[in-house]
């Protein structure tokens, strides 16, 4: 068979995912399928009270079950790890509850058994007694509450801007980020008009279809952890810290992940399985059920207050935002979410005077963390609903009002960082075009009212972070890529091979990717926050360029003219006298960053690039019931220059479907600190039947000058503005404003009845 001629360019090809065939034929590797000889299975016993002192844990019945190897509590863990507290921002989370529980669902003990069923059965026989404490639930009330989730704040030393919180007592506030740009107070005093609104968002879950799973194998003075993790490098650092070991004694390996979305970041089950394996000397596996995932990590519920001053020309002159983030019992990366989302909480508008306050708050709920957007979707829900409300009050077209105020490339954003390479204006234009915004709109009938809405938002990317990669040219000329980016379904393996292949002028599909293994692949901060294509993509590009220059050097050494077509295998033969040796190219990427000033929260270089997304929605509302259908959903993001257009489109549609669920159906409902709908039967993620008839996912090109071949990350961009676009469309259809997510049929109907002066009874 004659091979197809290689395409001229590897970047810009929509090649199918490299792992697609292995996945659909059931041959792809997942940690869930891993069984090691002598492996024990762990089952977690969890707290049923949201806040309390543990007075007794009775494990004798569990221990007596045949097949149970051991039942472990914090006392046992301490014999291995004297200070068993972990976390990326605060060292506040105990590996198992340490004489106190801080949320209902917190791990208290673990049964280890020869098989999973025995472990599960025995865990059901454990009982615990608690001296119950008053619980804090609401993020605003928790700020002034007299009940404290933690006695003392314990920031990790890694974050300089958290050090002022060290040792603080008597507070539930884990981070108070503030930003001051211009003089908001003076601008409000001089304003023609001031608008103020409050909003709320609900807690939701990441719902990866592969639940959390980790296996630890301690042997010969080393520890190997096989884990479904988005950040294997961080796991290694944190495990080494907990154990007081050198990093090279800890090996962390991942396989394919069945989704992550921010849940499988930092440390989750890894510290627990590590301690259990060291305790028993046997491999230990813990895999959670779908229901247990609800107790691992969530997206922050938020309360947001936003106030704007507007002049008579419809220009926003000042904005003040206060956001309270319900962080749950353990900080996880919540303080970072609080800060990063704080940067852009005033929205993608050119506003001279901005005052932002953002509070990470501890409560007695499951921990909250990053979820596809790092807090940006919550802030956008507030500022883009607020934007529509202002435009309505001023009687200015909502698109026109946004255009009048939009942040343009070359202008400083509230942090002081100058915005560049964004497609903000182009996205507004594309949304207008796709929705035919300037054309008359069919408003439906009395019983089925139609409406449309738009919204746009942006986010700063987590910084500072770094990635490294290795490109190895083998003696036959084939290429292997060592890359710590975790392919969890987004297609990063495919994208990275395209970047390396473009530099090396070979076919992307011919490159083999080595999956994250900290013994083998170099450091990567983590697969999160839309950073991989930009950061790892640049590292891969640099590694490939390094390999390429070494090939050129070898050619020179062999007295070949530059650009000679002598095949690589022949170069190695000439050099070594046989097919032997290799060429190693390395690349390391660390974009410029300037730490925000603690007083003003400002920085000239707060993000390596901007993530930008806009959504347009058309809805029809059944006015008798409040039930609504999104009939058209247009998501447009700024993708830089796409490396693989098909993958970019899938990232946009995937992000949009996820945020659609967070907008219309997903909601973790708590009653007195207890989750009341912790299963997929009662917590509803969207299915294919829920998707809009017209579901359009596109990008605008906005070359990122320092991205690999002009690319930037797009994993989260389509989540940012989706919720307010739908809320704005509902308001356009039936004239009622919902300020709290999710937007349910009942909430729409209630608002309509309230507007008519006929409120529906509460119960």
């Amino acid at each position: 068979m004659t091979p197809e001629p290689m395409p001229l360019s590897q970047v810009g090809r929509s090649i199918p995912r490299l792992e697609a065939s292995a996945k659909v034929t059931g041959r792809a590797e997942y940690v869930h399928n891993l069984r090691l000889p002598g492996m024990l299975y762990g089952k977690i016993f969890r707290s049923i009270v949201p806040h309390g002192r543990i007075t007794q844990v009775n494990v004798s019945a569990a221990r007596a079950v045949e097949g149970v190897h051991r039942v472990v509590t914090i006392e046992d863990i301490r014999s291995i790890i004297p200070n068993p507290y972990f976390g990326p921002a605060f060292h506040d989370q105990p590996i198992l509850a340490d004489h106190k529980v801080r949320f209902a669902g917190e791990p208290v003990a673990v049964v280890l058994a020869e098989n999973y069923r025995v472990a599960e059965q025995a865990a059901g026989l454990i009982t615990a007694q608690y001296e119950e404490l008053q619980a804090v639930d609401d993020e605003v009330e928790a700020v002034s509450a007299s009940v404290f989730v933690h006695d003392e704040l314990k920031p990790a030393s890694t974050f300089a801007d958290l050090q002022h919180l060290k040792g603080q007592r008597g507070t539930n506030v884990a981070l108070d980020y503030r930003l001051r740009h211009g003089d908001a107070e003076a601008a409000f005093a001089a304003a023609d008009q001031v608008f103020e609104h409050s909003f709320r968002t609900q807690p939701v879950m990441h719902t990866p279809l592969e639940p959390f799973v980790s296996v630890a194998d301690a042997a010969n003075g080393r520890l190997t952890i096989h884990t479904a993790s988005q950040s294997p490098s961080f796991v290694r650092i944190e495990i080494a810290r907990l154990l007081g070991w050198a990093e090279n004694r800890v090996r962390v390996k991942t396989a394919h992940l069945g989704g992550g979305f921010g849940s499988k970041l930092y440390i989750k089950l890894e510290a627990l399985v590590a301690a259990l394996s060291l305790l028993t000397g046997r491999p230990v596996k813990i895999s959670l059920t779908m229901e247990e995932q609800f107790f691992m990590v969530t997206r922050h519920a938020c309360t947001l207050k936003i106030k704007s001053a507007v002049d008579k020309n419809g220009r926003i002159t000042a904005r003040q935002c206060k956001t309270w983030w319900n962080g749950g019992a353990y900080a996880d990366i919540g303080p970072r979410v609080t800060q990063k989302a704080g940067f852009t909480a005033a929205g993608p508008y050119d506003i001279e005077n901005v005052a932002l306050d953002s509070y990470a708050v501890y409560t007695n709920r499951p921990p909250a963390s990053a979820l596809r957007g790092f807090g940006a979707p919550q802030t956008a829900w507030a500022y883009e609903t607020h934007t529509d409300l202002i435009a309505e009050a001023l009687n200015i077209d909502k698109l026109e009002f946004r255009r009048r105020n939009i942040l343009r490339n070359g202008r400083p954003q509230a942090t002081g960082t100058v915005v560049r390479d964004t497609g903000l204006e182009a996205i507004l234009d594309r949304l207008a075009e796709r929705l035919a915004w300037d054309q008359p709109f069919d408003r439906g009938s009395d019983k089925l009212r139609r409406g449309r809405g738009i919204a746009i938002g942006f986010k700063a990317i987590v910084a500072p972070t770094t990635s490294a990669a290795i490109v190895k040219i083998n003696a036959d000329g084939s290429c292997t890529l060592y890359c710590g980016t975790v392919d969890m379904g987004q297609g990063s393996d495919t994208c990275m091979t395209q970047i390396a292949a473009e530099v090396l002028n070979i076919e992307a599909e011919s490159i083999q990717v080595i999956h994250p293994d900290t013994d083998v692949t170099p450091y990567d901060m983590g697969t999160l926050g839309s950073r991989s294509t930009f950061h790892m993509g640049n590292a891969v590009r640099l590694a490939a360029e390094d390999a390429k220059s070494k090939i050129a050097a070898l050619m020179a050494e062999l007295n070949l003219p530059p650009g000679s077509n002598v095949p690589l295998v022949e170069l190695f033969r000439r050099k070594y006298g046989m097919q032997a040796g290799n060429i190693i190219g390395t690349g390391s990427f660390h974009p410029a960053y300037a730490k925000p000033d603690h007083q003003t929260g400002r920085s000239p270089q707060v993000t390596p690039f901007w993530g930008v997304g806009g959504t347009g929605a058309e809805v029809e509302v059944d006015t008798e019931t409040g039930q609504f259908r999104v009939t058209t959903l247009v998501n447009v993001v700024d993708a830089g220059v796409p490396i693989n257009p098909k993958l970019v489109q899938q990232q946009i549609s995937g992000a949009a479907i996820m945020q659609f669920g967070f907008t219309v159906s997903e909601n973790m409902v708590f009653h007195e600190g207890q989750l009341t709908n912790g299963s997929l039967a009662d917590y509803k993620i969207p299915g294919l039947l829920d998707l809009p008839r017209n579901f359009i996912n596109e990008w605008v090109e906005a070359r990122q000058h320092d991205g690999p071949f002009g690319a930037k990350g797009v994993g989260e961009s389509a989540t940012i503005a989706l919720s307010p676009a739908i809320g704005n469309a509902i308001a356009d259809a039936v004239g009622v404003r919902l300020t709290e997510l999710p937007l349910t049929a009942e909430s729409v109907y209630r608002a309509m009845q309230a507007a008519k002066g006929k409120p529906l009874p509460e119960q």
């Binding site: 069923r117 599960e120 059965q121 059901g124 059920t289 229901e291 008798e624 019931t625 039930q627 669920g661 219309v664 159906s665 909601n667 409902v669 009341t676 709908n677 299963s679 039967a681 009662d682 509803k684 993620i685 969207p686 299915g687 039947l689 829920d690 349910t744 049929a745 009942e746 109907y749 209630r750 529906l760 009874p761 509460e762 119960q763």
Partner: protein, 293 residues
């Protein structure tokens, strides 16, 4: 899920011998789609499950005779869904299947298990009540007939004894009646219903001669709406439209005769409102349907 014993008897007699009237940890299992979920969540931990899937032939088959159809309790939803006779004689059942769970569940779930599970959120029992179906219940003491509307005592509770099994369902064929099932979801398309309504009407020209209405999901158990039926019975309707005032009276009657439960799909007051709206829509749809629909 804990370990359990699974037995597959070949006859009813064998089955009865295995069932223990007094031990709730010994239960029959049909398709198992609902039971397995309860077992996985730890709500139910059986010691012994008695599978009915090999008990032939009394529990299987779809047979038409004497103006009714006998549907064996172990008939799968998929078999109902794809039966041309069911489509011809009970098209509302075929239509309901499209909104019910998913093909994987329909391939396994059975008519009898669905009835015996007594979860108020299940769609099909409401359709059977509206169609006037009766369950054939067998036990070592013999056979008795229970109308589906009388099968339920409360939330997950039937009138069946622990040694009784549903063997079959008898559904009368009523070629002049028109039937509609409406599944009302408030969150996602594949959610459990916030409200289920089945309506069956018999029309004499512009008069509603008879009506059978069943409601579920919003109530503790599948419930026939006797008062609402009474309002409709004998009422004159226009061929194209049912009078708003008549539907409002039927809605009032319905609200008055049942107690509506709140859950994560909606408050009681909202579901009450949904019942008014969708009862009206279902009656209108049934009135406008072709005879036999």
């Amino acid at each position: 899920m804990t370990s359990f014993e699974l037995v597959e008897p070949r006859s009813l007699e064998e089955t009865f011998a295995l069932l223990d009237r007094d031990d709730p940890a010994v239960r029959p299992i049909a398709g198992g789609t609902a039971l397995m979920l309860m077992m996985k969540s730890g709500l139910f931990s059986p010691l012994r499950l008695i599978s009915l899937r090999r008990v032939e032939p009394r529990l299987a088959g779809i047979a038409f005779a004497d103006g009714s159809v006998r549907i064996g309790a172990m008939t799968t939803f998929a078999a109902l869904e794809h039966s041309p006779e069911i489509r011809r004689h009970l098209p509302v059942v075929t239509r309901t299947m499209r909104t019910l769970a998913n093909p994987r569940v329909r391939n396994v779930a059975t008519v009898g298990g669905n009835l015996a599970h007594a979860d108020t959120h299940l769609d099909l029992p409401l359709v059977w009540i509206a169609l006037g179906a009766q369950a054939v219940v067998v036990s070592p003491r013999g056979e008795r007939i229970v109308a589906v509307e009388d099968l339920y005592r409360g939330y997950y509770e039937t009138v069946l004894h622990h040694d009784e099994l549903i063997a079959a369902l008898h559904v009368p064929l009523r070629p002049t009646w028109r039937s509609v099932y409406v599944k009302v979801t408030t969150r996602t398309a594949h959610d459990w219903p916030a409200l289920g309504i089945a309506v069956s009407l018999a029309r004499d020209g512009s008069i509603i001669r008879d009506a059978r209405i069943a409601v579920g999901a919003a109530t503790k158990k599948a419930t026939r709406l006797i008062q609402a039926e009474t309002v409709l019975r004998g009422a004159a309707i226009d061929a194209a439209a049912v009078d708003d005032a008549l539907l409002a009276r039927a809605g009032d009657a319905a609200i008055g005769e049942i107690s509506i439960e709140a859950d994560s799909r909606g408050s009681a007051s909202y579901k009450q409102h949904l019942l008014r709206v969708y009862l009206g829509r279902a009656v209108r749809a049934a009135a406008a349907a072709e005879p036999g629909a």
